[in-house]
């Protein structure tokens, strides 16, 4: 097996699981393979996908961001309150939300880098901060009635037939493309993977550690902010409870996508595949109706377990072949 193929094995495994799940869904349920169902996979999971894109970049760098779910909730209620209660234009409200999100991410990155704190704890504080802030703004859901939201929600990019891509899916696809370019075709992306692979090596190679780290946490928070905007558009409301536990689903999506949680190895394409696996499982559960929703979490947990064990095996083999120094 060539090394390149071997390195992409987790990606291929995820693709195989996706095809298997999708095909068995098609065999079991009528109408599962329709174009509408396939397109809904993107529309229904747009917020999850957006947070997962940002989280993938953070995980590439060897970090973690637990605050993304809370940022989604905060953004939705923050913009909804600004627009509906204070008469701010939605575009301006979105810009303000992005500023808050970006500042939060950059701040967390700065604390993680300069104070050498575990990302786990700092982003946990960010999560508490944003969730508390969201409830501070309003403990109740705020419905969106601004005409711009209605126009955006009604728009669909026609794809032929009666199918179309709503704005939420378009934003997700754009973010996936952008994330893929950033991660795999820019110097910043290579710096991320280098940092995740080995911080000391990255430092010796001349990777700007502080800038890279601060930027990646800012990017992750920005992606989560966009996810909050998209979720508000999708549901037509802002709610401080939006995105509760979303960070776990996003981590699961990234891991199922074959990205190493240790950092330094992965592909953004895997995150798209992981998102589709997640979406197909949820869709199959709604199609079935006999299996209760609880099974969704259990199946995702089982998949997660299977994937980390497979990754572990692959990593061990790769490690032995590639850098004999690190196998102590």
């Amino acid at each position: 097996m060539s090394p390149a193929l071997h390195r992409r094995l987790p990606l291929l495994a995820t693709a195989a699981v996706l095809v298997g799940l999708y095909a068995s869904g098609g065999l079991l349920y009528d109408g599962f393979l329709s174009g509408r169902v396939a397109l809904n996979l993107l529309a229904d999971n747009a917020a999850l996908g957006l947070t997962a894109v940002g989280l993938t970049l953070v995980i590439f760098s060897g970090g973690i961001d637990l605050s993304v779910g809370a940022v989604v909730g905060f953004t939705s209620i923050f913009t909804a309150t600004l627009v509906e209660r204070h008469g701010v234009h939605p575009a301006l409200a979105a810009a303000a939300a992005l500023a808050v999100g970006g500042a939060l991410g950059a701040g967390m990155g700065a604390l993680i880098h300069w104070f050498r704190q575990p990302p786990f704890l700092i982003t946990l504080a960010g999560m508490f901060l944003m969730r508390g802030g969201a409830y501070w703004i309003s403990t109740e859901s705020v419905g969106l009635t601004h005409p711009l939201y209605n126009r955006l929600a009604a728009y669909e990019l026609p794809l032929g037939g009666r199918l179309g891509l709503p704005v939420t899916s378009l934003v997700l696809l754009a973010a996936l493309a952008l994330g893929g370019i950033i991660a795999h075709y820019t110097r910043f992306g290579r710096n991320l993977l280098a940092l995740g692979g080995s911080e000391s090596s990255a430092l010796l190679m001349g990777v700007p550690l502080a800038g890279t780290r601060i930027a990646v946490y800012a990017l992750s928070s920005l992606a989560a902010t966009v996810a909050g905007l998209v979720l508000a558009l999708y549901t037509g409301s802002g709610n401080p409870t939006f995105g509760l536990g979303l960070e776990l689903d996003a981590i699961a999506v990234v891991v199922i996508g074959g990205t190493l949680l240790r950092g330094g190895r992965g592909h953004l394409l895997g995150t798209l595949l992981g998102l589709l696996v997640f979406g197909v499982i949820q869709t199959a559960l709604t199609f079935d109706g006999r299996l209760s929703a609880q099974w969704g979490r259990i199946i995702v947990g089982a998949l997660l377990l299977a994937f980390i064990l497979v990754q572990r095996l692959l990593h061990e083999r790769l490690g032995r072949r590639r850098d004999p120094i690190h196998t102590v």
Binding site: F115, Q117, P118, M127, F128, R297, I308
Partner: protein, 333 residues
């Protein structure tokens, strides 16, 4: 200044303890009746007793988490294990089984969870965050499956005693937590077991060369965390006399980790402070009580908690210590 006092100041528990005392002082200033404890019908009542009673679950969780963090690991699944243990106990009791069977079933669930986590970390060599994430995600689903997706009510006087009973005037749950801490202290600090945990957390390779069963010690730590989590689940279910698979133990893992960190145990492992975790968990509970006294809506309570995490993290970082040290050196003593 006596030598004993100096030693106390230098002890790592001094900081969290000072924080707790400061918080109590703030409370006394807000509400002079804060520390008043009254004896009614042979039971003690008062805010400090409430804090002990409500704090029993976080205390027990923090104990288990301390063991895992000492080995350099982390256990994200304790909240889900709580929900599973509570659900199993409720369903067994509802099915007419005895109290002993229900308790045994719940603890068995916790041990099984700990076994899974421990094997993944110690044998398969998977990062603790990832390994325990599996059970965190799946466990809540399993708990919902056990109760059939409902909140199961529990009507059993003996079971309710675990959560609401009084022993010699003190809340039984609090007494149980204190006894557990004392037991853990004897087991870990009066034998070499605690040293083994720290050694494994500090340097697993060197520990293995020194002849320590590294995988076994790690596995035991996760088993301990699982058992503590199931106990906390039993206490939570007994307290509200119901098992809620959706909300029980929600964010409990975060509070437990936080309590341990506030108590001066670093997430990097290799060192642990049982007394610190005890004080840390009480500190968090007192903070929650303070928010309640100040009339802060419970939903906003995460904000001060976040600021506290940041403060503790910054105080513990080498960079801030360097700055503070510099300040002290320059100032005339």
């Amino acid at each position: 200044m006596s030598r004993k006092f100096r030693e106390l100041l230098r002890s790592p528990v001094a900081w969290p303890l000072a924080g707790l005392l400061l918080l109590v002082l703030v409370n006394v200033l807000i509400n002079p009746a804060f520390l008043r404890v009254t004896l009614l019908d042979g039971h003690l009542f008062g805010v400090p007793v409430d804090i002990l009673n409500e704090g029993a679950r976080p205390l027990v969780l923090a104990l288990g988490m301390t063991l895992v963090i000492a080995t350099g690991g982390i256990d994200l699944s304790v909240g889900s294990v709580m929900a599973m243990a509570g659900a199993v106990a409720a369903v067994l009791l509802a099915g007419g089984h005895s109290l002993a069977a229900a308790l045994a079933g719940a603890v068995a669930v916790g041990l099984a969870g700990g076994l899974l986590n421990g094997l993944l970390v110690a044998r398969a060599g998977i990062q603790p965050i990832v390994a325990t994430l599996v059970l965190m995600v799946a466990g809540r689903g399993i708990a919902q499956l056990v109760t059939g997706g409902d909140v199961t009510l529990i009507r059993h006087a003996g079971f309710a005693f675990i959560g609401n009973g009084y022993l010699a005037g003190l809340p039984f749950a609090a007494v149980l937590a204190v006894v557990l801490y004392a037991g853990a202290h004897l087991l870990l600090r009066r034998t070499a077991a605690g040293l083994f945990l720290e050694s494994v957390g500090d340097n697993p390779v060197a520990s293995r060369f020194a002849g320590l069963p590294v995988a076994g010690v790690t596995l035991l730590a996760y088993l301990g965390a699982g058992a503590c989590a199931s106990l906390a689940g039993i206490m939570a279910a007994a307290n509200i006399q119901a098992a809620d698979p959706y909300r029980m133990g929600e964010n409990a893992e975060l509070d437990a980790i936080f309590a341990v960190v506030v108590g001066g145990t670093a997430l990097t492992g290799g060192r642990f402070l049982l007394a610190g975790s005890f004080v840390g968990a009480l500190f968090l509970q007192t903070l929650a009580q303070t928010m309640y006294q100040l009339g802060v809506p419970p939903a906003v309570a995460p904000v001060p908690k976040a600021l506290l995490i940041l403060a503790v993290c910054l105080l513990q970082s080498d960079r801030t210590r360097g700055w503070l040290g510099g300040l002290f050196r320059r100032s005339p003593a």
